[in-house]
Structure formats: C-alpha cells, structure tokens
C-alpha cells in the first residue's frame, strides 16, 4: 500500500567502498553499503579475511575448501581482490575508494595506508586513543564493560555472556551511520575535507546501557540483576511457557495490566489499585507470578498472542530458530533471503530497513577469495 514508484537504481550506486580488514564490524558496515548498491571491494590478504574462518561453517564439499556461512552473510554482493597489506597505497580498489574501512589491529604495518588522502573509517574495539587501546577485545568484553552482561542471569550469578557477534554488529552499524553522515555532509557541501573517522565498538554499544550511567549520576538506585527474564521497571515482563510454546509478555501501563488480567481471567488482581503502578507490580512479583504461570500454562501461546494484541497488549510469540523461517509475518516481508556461496545456498537475515523506491539487494552471491583480482589488475593496466 505504501509502496512508492519502484526503480532499478540503488542509493549508493557509484559509491566505491574498500574494506581492507574484514573483521565482523568492518564487514557489517560495508555490507550495509553493498546491500544498497555501493561497489564494495574486499582487499584481502593472501590467507583471506578473518571472517572466512568464522562458524557456522558450510558442510565441506569433497575436496573443497571449508567455507564460512558467516562470511557469506557478511560479504555477499561484494568483490574480492588479494592485496599487499604492507603497502595498500598501490591497490586500485584503495586508490579509487570514496571510503576506506579498516580496523587498525589487522594492518601489518602502521604505514599501510600512508599517503592515502581518501575518507577513512577506522572501527576498533576501543577507539584509537585511551588506555584500553591495546586491550584484547571481544563481544563479551564489550558487553561486560558496557554493563549489559551484569543484568543477565540468575540473581546469584554468574551473569550470562550473550551469544554471537552482537557487539561487533552494533559497532559496524554505528560506524555505517558515522561514515554515511560524513559522506552526506560532503555531498551537501558542509564538509570539504576528507574525514578520518574513529569508531569505537565500546562506545557504539553504550547506546544499550548509557541510561545506567545517567541514573547512577542522579543517584537513582541501581537496578539489580533480578533473575532470568526479570528487569526493572515493570512486571509482568518476561517469557513464560504456554501449552504450545513460549509467550513474551510486557505490561507497562495500567490499561495493559488490566487487559492482561482480563485475558487470563485473573479477576482477583484487576481492581487492585496498588497493582496499577508498574513498580508496585514488580515489587509484588513473587505474589503475582504463581497465578500468572498457572494461567498461561493452560492457554495456547499462539491464541493468546493474537487475542492479546487485539486487546492492545504487547504480547509476542518467542519463535525458535527453526520457527523463525516460517513465521507468516517474516515470510511475507522476506525477512530472510538466500545467499549463494560456491555451490551452496542458505538463508540469512535481510537488511532490516527498506527504501521502497530504491529497494536493497535481497541475498546474493559471495565472491571467492581473490576472484576479482584479475579484473581489477586489468582495469589498472
């Protein structure tokens, strides 16, 4: 209904981007450019980008190389050349780039980019300055230092390490915003010089927890770790089992709470004024929870989800990985798209924002290591 006129063009047609590091963060930043039409070239060392080793790996074809599905997800619709990382200044893809994306920790020499006057976008765990610059980073390290991790898990601990490469994805996304903002500033004539951005994955992930620091400054009580799926400032908020799967529940306003009680026939709580306040319900969680769990267990999660949403309660199904691919909402929106790598195809998340007039690539093909080196060399000649 909202679709505007479609066209074959993409927003970043004609924009040349070079990734010379191939970390998850640099790769994700460049992926967003590639998904919307930029010409992204991976300038890889002879052994390939680090992402080529990341799990999950594709089942190995007989006599074939091990291929990483994570690499495929991060790098479809990009070109791959093998370059000399000790001196990148002679690499055509680097010379022609409107934007060079890199992680300084992956460069073998501090002079690898000497003499380059293009726009650069460094993405590192902690930024290019400060006492942590040489620290060993990881997604977990970032989640620990930002305060995210301390709130996850049982009351008595230990806190839980979140899965995967989440902090790097957030870092790459944030760096995309920084780089594109500066490119747009140049396009508008507001910025006339090349830029040299310093993106910190640590700082990028602070968007999840900066309120903790603000609350601490204002001497508001620090939210304790309350247990699995329990978070201030409200209750019920969490994930509970129903007859046919898991239901996600959030009630914040007095109206949502009363509707939730009505939905589950929890008549004894509906007219208790004290429970209209979210903080009071949180303080009374031990009293409320047995009745809520008992009621939920007697219903279908699927039915409660739709009925609750009709009553304006923000309920959710909590799909498993297997169920994700068949959720009708996600299927209808092509939330997953097909990646082609060597002779294998698999599903990966599609880009989450959709420009209707200039739609993104949905899935695509992944270049083999150095596949575009001959073409790039020929173009140089």
């Amino acid at each position: 209904m909202q679709q505007t006129d479609t066209a074959q063009t993409k927003p970043f047609d004609g924009l040349n981007v070079a990734d010379i590091s191939g970390t998850v963060a640099t790769s994700y930043a460049c992926k967003l450019f590639a998904d919307y039409g930029a010409s992204v070239t991976n300038v890889e060392p002879a052994q390939g980008f680090p992402t080529r080793q990341l799990k999950p790996l594709l089942p190995k074809a007989q006599g074939g190389e091990t291929l990483s599905a994570m690499h495929g997800y991060l790098h479809c619709n990009k070109a791959s050349v093998v370059g000399n990382h000790y001196d990148l200044t002679a690499e055509p893809a680097v010379i022609q780039a409107d934007l060079i994306v890199y992680d300084p920790a992956t460069l073998p020499s501090t002079t690898s980019l000497s003499g380059i006057h293009a726009n650069t976008c460094a993405i590192s765990w902690f930024g290019l300055s400060g006492p942590y610059t040489k620290y060993q980073g990881s997604d977990g390290v970032i989640q620990a230092l930002t305060g995210l991790m301390k709130g996850i898990g049982e009351e008595d601990g230990p806190p839980i390490i979140p899965n995967g490469v989440q902090a790097q994805i957030v870092g790459g996304l944030s760096a995309f915003n920084g780089a594109l903002g500066h490119l747009l500033g140049q396009l508008m004539g507001n910025l006339t010089q090349p830029f040299a951005l310093d993106n910190s994955i640590f700082e990028a992930n602070m968007c999840l927890t900066d309120l903790m620091a603000i609350n601490a400054f204002n001497e508001n009580p620090l939210p304790p770790r309350m247990g699995i799926n329990k978070f201030p400032p409200t209750y019920p908020l969490g994930i509970w089992p129903c007859k046919d799967g898991w239901l996600g529940v959030t009630t914040l306003t007095p109206g949502q709470w009363r509707s939730f009680c009505e939905l589950l026939s929890l008549d004894e709580f509906i007219d208790v004024d004290f429970f209209n306040a979210s903080v009071n319900r949180l303080a009374s969680a031990d009293l409320l929870e047995p009745a809520i769990i008992e009621a939920l267990a007697s219903y279908s999660a699927e039915a409660l989800f739709h009925k609750g949403q009709a009553m304006r309660i923000p309920l959710a199904r909590v799909p498993t990985m297997e169920e994700l691919f068949s959720v009708d909402q996600y299927v209808s929106r092509q939330a997953f798209s097909s990646i082609s790598m060597d002779d294998t195809t698999f599903l990966a998340p599609s880009i989450p924002f959709r420009l209707f007039a200039t739609p993104p690539h949905f899935g695509g093909r992944v270049a083999a290591l150095g596949e575009d080196t001959p073409a790039m060399t020929e173009a140089k000649v």
């Binding site: 995967g164 508008m188 910190s200 700082e203 903790m212």
Partner: protein, 409 residues
C-alpha cells in the same frame, strides 16, 4: 567543518516517541540537522511518563524524566493537537518545508489521522518518510504493538542466550529500542543521501524486530546450514576453555575471562599457579567444570578491576562486569571525554554520551539539552510558518498548543 554542523540545512520532523525513534532522530540532530519534535499536551512522549497523574504534572514531572532527556537533546520541541483540524494542518505546513519525517506509532495511528505517507507526500513530493513500527508497515502483524522487550521476544534471540536448562532468556529490558534506533538513523541517512543525489524522496519501512535478527545471525545461519539451532551452552564455549564469568572480591563483583589461544592460556597459568594441573586444550575442554571451579576460587580473592588490568597486561581477554557508577568512572571513557555535560532546566547538569564516532581526537561537542514541552512553539510556528503572536495566542487558548501536559478528560 566539525561533525555537529555536518547536516546543517536538513530539517526533520520527529513524530516518534519512547526510545527507538527519538534515538534515530537524535543522531541526526547531533550531526547538525534541525530536528523538530512534535508532541501534544494530551499525547506527550510516553517516555516522560506512562503513568501520569495530577501530582506528577504539578511537580513538573514531564521535564524530569531522564530517559526522555537522553534521546531528545539537540532538538526543537513543539506541541500540536493533531486531532484538531488546525493542528493537523499546521503539521502538514511544517512537513511541506521539511526534508524528512520519522515516526514509530503502531501502524493504525497515522492513517486514522490522515497523516500517513500518501497524505504527507501530497504536500511534499520530495519527502523522505521513515516509519518504524515494531513489525514493519506491511504483513499481517503490521498493526501489532510492541515495546523493545516485545521486539526481543519476537526476534528469536532469547533462544540463543543462556543454557539449555533455562527458559529462553532476555538480555535487556528493551533491547529492541536502541538497536531499532541505530537502524532508524541508517534508514534516514540512506534515504536522505539518495534524495540529495536525485531529488527523489521516498517511503522507508523499518521493522524493529528485523533490526534485531542480525544480532542472532549466528543462530539463524546455524539453523539454515545444519537444520538445527546452535546448542545453548551458557557461558561455556565449544572451542575454548577457560571461558566464563568468575566471581571476584565484593558483592556481585565479576570478571569475564575468555582464553582463546594457547599463548593466553600459558600467560594465565603463569599468573595463577593453581591452574598448573590443567594441560592442553583438549584436557581443559574435557575437565571444564573442574577448571572453572579452580579458576573461580582464585578470582574470588581478586578485585575485578585490578585483575582486568593485570590480565589484559598479559594479553588475556578479560573484562570487569561494570554497573552504572563504573560507566561514569571508566578510564577509557574519561580519557576520550566520552561523557559530556549539559545544563537543563528542572534537572541541572546532566551527563550525555557522545556520538560513538569522531573525526579527530575529540568527540563532537553537544550543543543543547533536551527541550521542554512546547519550548519552541514560537520559534517554529512563528519563525518557520510565519504565525503571528496573536495567532499563537489563539492556538494556545484553543488547546492546539501548550507547554504543560494535560490528562485525558
């Protein structure tokens, strides 16, 4: 030209509320775009409060909400009752002079007000409009409601967190909001780039749930490639040991240690002699439980922040688990000037996180704290739309604009 003036000349109308949409627009405001936030006295940003009372209004509670202050700095704020025809028309007049609109209402709200994309495009053919409902603007769930927690529930991510014996586990009270906000910024910038190149505006649809799915990419890919989800192993890593969160001295003090190479293992063994009975990686993986217990007994005698420095000094991946106060005192943040302070009426000086990217050694300086409700009615409606003082006064008398919240009658 510094970052805070990069986008000077762009005007964005911010109809969003809560966390995700306001954060998306704030990032552009921090880069110099003029962002005009539109609330109304009866439908004010719910992040000011979701449980407003007369006492809260009398105490100026609307101006003291810390979450609101954080994601609305550097913006202008006006009030318009969009259910009154003249209020709706004034919004259309503003949209006609804007580059972009961003909103995160549930799907049915703007169509009811006849302020959805077709109506806004009718007054500004080059408009960029970013709509960011929880499940996207299309599909059978387009009108469904969600908070950031609902978004995390719906993304599948909880099935990747924690151990197999635990229920699907959330990471955050509102994980979807901040990530949706970053994607909203990306969506706005991408469409504005295209508009700057071609003059063409367009509708941009963002599903906040789909914004979270890339965070679970490893699980999605595992399911697709192996036709099974990755095992939920808690803090254990299938390929590395020791790998976990270990107790330290004090109440609820912890340290993350992730030994991911033999060099790191030998460095740790050199520091913690109690680990001498454990050998190569295969041995450590086999005796993971005993290894974790031995390491935990040692870490429990250490202070977490000092231990992090010691371990990192040896090249071992480690970090203390911070809380809010730690974030204010963090040495890295302090050295980089990450927190900036802005004065604000009703609350005084407040810390603000900088943009996470900088063009040079210093963070981009922040200019203005979050506006009070309707603070810029005169500046925007008078200065941009040319309304006279008498017209503004009449709008106030008629309840179209104002600067105090009111409860529904």
């Amino acid at each position: 030209m510094s970052t805070e003036k990069l986008l000077n000349g762009l005007r964005i109308i911010d109809l969003s509320m809560g966390w995700a949409g306001p954060l998306a627009a704030r990032n552009l405001a921090d880069m110099g775009a003029q962002v005009i936030k539109v609330e109304s006295c009866t439908h004010f940003d719910w992040w000011r409060s979701w449980e407003a009372t007369p006492e809260w209004i009398a105490d100026n509670g609307a101006e003291k909400a810390l979450p609101y202050l954080s994601v609305n700095r550097n913006k202008l704020d006006i009030t318009l009752d969009l259910e009154i025809p003249v209020g709706r028309q004034l919004l259309l007049d503003l949209v006609a002079k804007a580059d972009a609109v961003i909103e995160n209402y549930s799907g049915s709200v703007l169509p009811k007000l006849k302020l959805d994309y077709p109506h806004l495009k009718a007054v500004n053919n080059e408009l960029v409009m970013v709509s960011m409902p929880a499940f996207g603007s299309t599909g059978p769930w387009a009108n469904y409601r969600a908070y950031g927690s609902t978004v995390e529930h719906s993304s599948g991510l909880p099935h990747l967190t924690g151990s197999a014996h635990q229920p699907p586990a959330m990471q955050h009270v509102a994980l979807g909001d901040a990530i949706g906000g970053l994607n909203g910024t990306a969506a706005l910038l991408s469409a504005l780039w295209h508009k700057q190149k071609t003059g063409q505006g367009q509708f941009v649809d963002l599903s906040q749930v789909e914004c979270l799915i890339p965070l679970g990419a490893e699980g999605v890919l595992h399911q697709s490639v192996h036709n099974s989800p990755p095992p939920r192993t808690g803090n254990d890593h299938p390929d590395f040991a020791p790998h976990g969160v270990y107790p330290c001295q004090g109440d609820d003090q912890w340290i993350l240690i992730q030994v991911m190479s033999e060099a790191q293992w030998h460095a740790l063994q050199g520091l913690c002699t109690e680990l001498s009975g454990f050998g190569a990686l295969t041995d450590r993986l086999e005796r993971r439980h005993a290894l974790n217990n031995t390491l935990a007994q040692w870490t429990a005698k250490q202070k977490s922040s000092a231990l992090m420095k010691q371990l990192q000094g040896l090249g071992i991946t480690a970090a203390t688990l911070s809380n809010g106060i730690d974030l204010l005192e963090d040495e890295q943040h302090k050295a980089r000037g990450y927190m900036q302070w802005l004065d604000r009426a009703f609350v005084g000086s407040q810390p603000h996180p900088s943009l996470p990217f900088r063009n040079g050694p210093d963070p981009s300086p922040l200019q203005n704290s979050a506006p009070t409700l309707g603070q810029h009615n005169g500046e925007v409606l008078g200065g941009i739309l040319g309304l006279s003082d008498a017209e503004l006064e009449k709008l106030a008398v008629d309840g179209v604009i104002g600067d105090k919240p009111t409860l529904p009658s």
